[in-house]
């Protein structure tokens, strides 16, 4: 039996390695290019002959990549906090509390899952103009404050929480808020972390809405700034790839640390949702 399996395994490793090289190559090429001085872009060198960090200095200090990086961090942090707070609260209420109208609320939230973001950007923009939210952080952030995806993710996890535990806490005199905050939430640390990571990544990568709602470069998020900068940078691929590396690297770092967590929650949300 093991003898017959050998060639199959070797072939599997071989194909997977070639495939993995295709997956990694763009990141490697991005990084290598970002370390090359401009003339080497035109001489088509493979490895930077005179590696330099000048490109990063240029985009951070001559252009506004530093500012865009901070904008993305602020937007990501606030929306993530809001997502974690409100999605867990809603998921908990829908699983662990009984109240009239629950079915209606459930369907209402479920329905929003079927409406693509692209369909909402025009009304969002019209409202943003009306209320003066264009070119503000709030304008970028408001659509990301809550999402049905997060509600249903948290619902999955709260369903596994025994209700007896919550009832025991109620008997001990905790209020409903106390039960949620002191008993239910502390048991959800790892799902909450998963939700936080997914929410942050989603907002860090978001493009179409931040592109629409911002015109002034001071409020661009990193993807919008990168797109605008690159659109005008011509063949300065050394600078463009430095910007791209700057926006990819934090994500890959977070991914490398929480890889197992992220993949498992994506799998869970995909399989069950």
């Amino acid at each position: 039996m093991p003898r017959r399996l050998m060639p199959l395994q070797v072939a599997s490793y071989l194909i997977l390695t070639v495939g993995a090289a295709v997956m990694i190559f763009p990141f490697v090429w991005m990084l290598l290019t970002s370390l090359k001085p401009l003339p080497e872009i035109y001489s088509l060198s493979w490895f930077p002959r005179q590696p330099t960090l000048d490109n990063y200095v240029t985009i951070l200090f001559r252009y506004q990549f530093g500012r865009w990086f901070l904008n993305s961090l602020v937007v990501g942090a606030v929306t993530t906090l809001s997502m974690v707070a409100f999605c867990s609260l809603t998921g908990y209420t829908l699983t662990k509390l009984d109240f009239p109208g629950k079915g209606f609320v459930f369907v209402l939230i479920l329905a929003t899952l079927f409406v693509p973001t692209e369909m909402l950007v025009i009304p969002w923009y019209a409202s943003s103009v009306r209320y003066g939210w264009v070119d503000t952080y709030w304008g970028i952030m408001f659509p990301g404050m809550i999402h049905a995806f997060g509600v249903f993710l948290m619902r999955q996890f709260f369903q596994g929480l025994p209700s007896d535990l919550l009832d025991a806490a109620r008997v001990d005199g905790l209020s409903e808020l106390g039960v949620f905050w002191r008993v239910a939430l502390p048991l959800m640390k790892s799902p909450l972390a998963a939700l936080a990571i997914l929410a942050f990544l989603g907002n860090w990568n978001a493009f179409i809405w931040p592109l629409i709602v911002t015109n002034r470069s001071e409020v661009f998020t990193l993807p919008v700034g990168l797109a605008m900068f690159s659109g005008e940078a011509g063949a300065h691929w050394n600078l463009i790839t430095a910007g791209a590396t700057l926006s990819v690297f934090p994500v890959l770092l977070v991914f490398a640390i929480f890889q197992r967590h992220i993949i498992e929650s994506i799998a869970l949300s995909g399989v069950k949702g």
Binding site: P26, T112, P116, P123, I146, S175, F207, P223, V251
Partner: protein, 310 residues
């Protein structure tokens, strides 16, 4: 006892009322967000689609189905619609079958499985804008590394994104590259949930290799397969029918070009809304896409469920 009973019921009633109050207190802000951010704007989109837009609300006119009739004579819209269908026809099967293939290979190996899984998944979590620009550089006809590699193996340089014939398949390939890892993960979970005993029993019965896959693995994967196809086509995160970011960034100087050959419905909607500021027509376009997405998802769920049912 007789006096306690009604009292007990009253307390229970108030308890339930208090629970209800708590529930709605918890839901107040989230529900407000859902209504204000999702439900209300959705209704506004429908309303806009039958309105001739004007900055001054008093001068907005109801035009009925005018925009929807306008679409059928709009060559650029029809091209974007055709392209979107083509993207789906290329991208969805490619993503799903590559994802399934990689997952099956990963299932064969023991060591480094987690590492491979992470590598295949990584592009899915990275910003589409950044990787689109990296690909745009790699695919550039004169400075790009892809043509250098092709030259090394004796293939003449290709125009890729600059040729009306090659641009759309090239964009589709970049999209497949970015999203295939998602499907790998979905299929790995499904493969791991198939009980080992089933395989052992089938082996005892003399099944092996291909027939094992065709008779057991494939039918048992059916729910995940349906899910993968539906998600790849129309999910909010990776749905190819909503393709925009990659198309926009792979050809920033001429989005949708050359000659409109890479344009998509969402890109065209964006151009109509934010270049021509014709919000009414743009809303009608996106309403049509919404209808298509709903219809396609429902058809897929029905047809695929039935076809592979065992």
């Amino acid at each position: 006892m007789g006096t306690l009973r009604p009292r007990g019921r009253r307390i229970q009633l108030t308890l339930r009322q208090r629970r209800t109050l708590w529930a709605y207190a918890f839901l107040a802000i989230p529900l407000f967000f859902f209504l204000a951010i999702r439900i209300w704007p959705m209704l506004q989109a429908f309303q806009l689609s039958v309105t001739r837009w004007h900055v001054d609300p008093a001068q907005r006119v109801f035009v009925g189905l005018h925009h929807f009739r306008q679409m059928w004579g709009d060559a650029r819209f029809l091209q974007a619609l055709r392209n979107t269908a083509l993207y789906a026809a290329i991208g969805v099967p490619a993503q799903v079958f590559l994802g399934l293939g990689i997952a099956l290979l990963l299932n064969n190996i023991r060591r480094a499985r987690g590492l491979f899984r992470a590598i295949y998944f990584a592009p899915y979590v990275t910003p589409a804008v950044a990787v689109a620009w990296a690909w745009s550089y790699m695919l550039s006809p004169h400075l790009g590394v892809i043509n250098s590699i092709l030259w090394l193996v004796g293939i003449p340089p290709q125009p890729f994104l600059t040729s009306p014939a090659q641009a759309l398949p090239t964009v589709a390939a970049v999209v497949v590259w970015q999203f295939v890892g998602f499907h790998v993960v979905i299929f790995l979970v499904a493969l791991n949930s198939i009980p080992r005993e089933i395989y052992e029993a089938a082996r005892v019965d003399g099944a092996s290799g291909w027939s094992l896959f065709r008779r057991i693995t494939f039918p048992l994967l059916n729910p995940s397969l349906v899910l993968a196809v539906v998600m790849a086509t129309a999910s909010p995160s990776i749905g190819i029918l909503q393709l925009f970011t990659q198309v926009m960034n792979l050809r920033m100087y001429d989005p949708g070009g050359p000659l409109g050959s890479t344009s998509t419905v969402v890109l065209y909607m964006y151009q109509v809304a934010f270049r021509r500021f014709d919000f009414g027509y743009a809303a009608a376009i996106i309403v049509v896409l919404f209808a298509i997405i709903l219809a396609v998802s429902l058809i897929q769920l029905r047809v695929l469920r039935r076809r592979f049912e065992y």
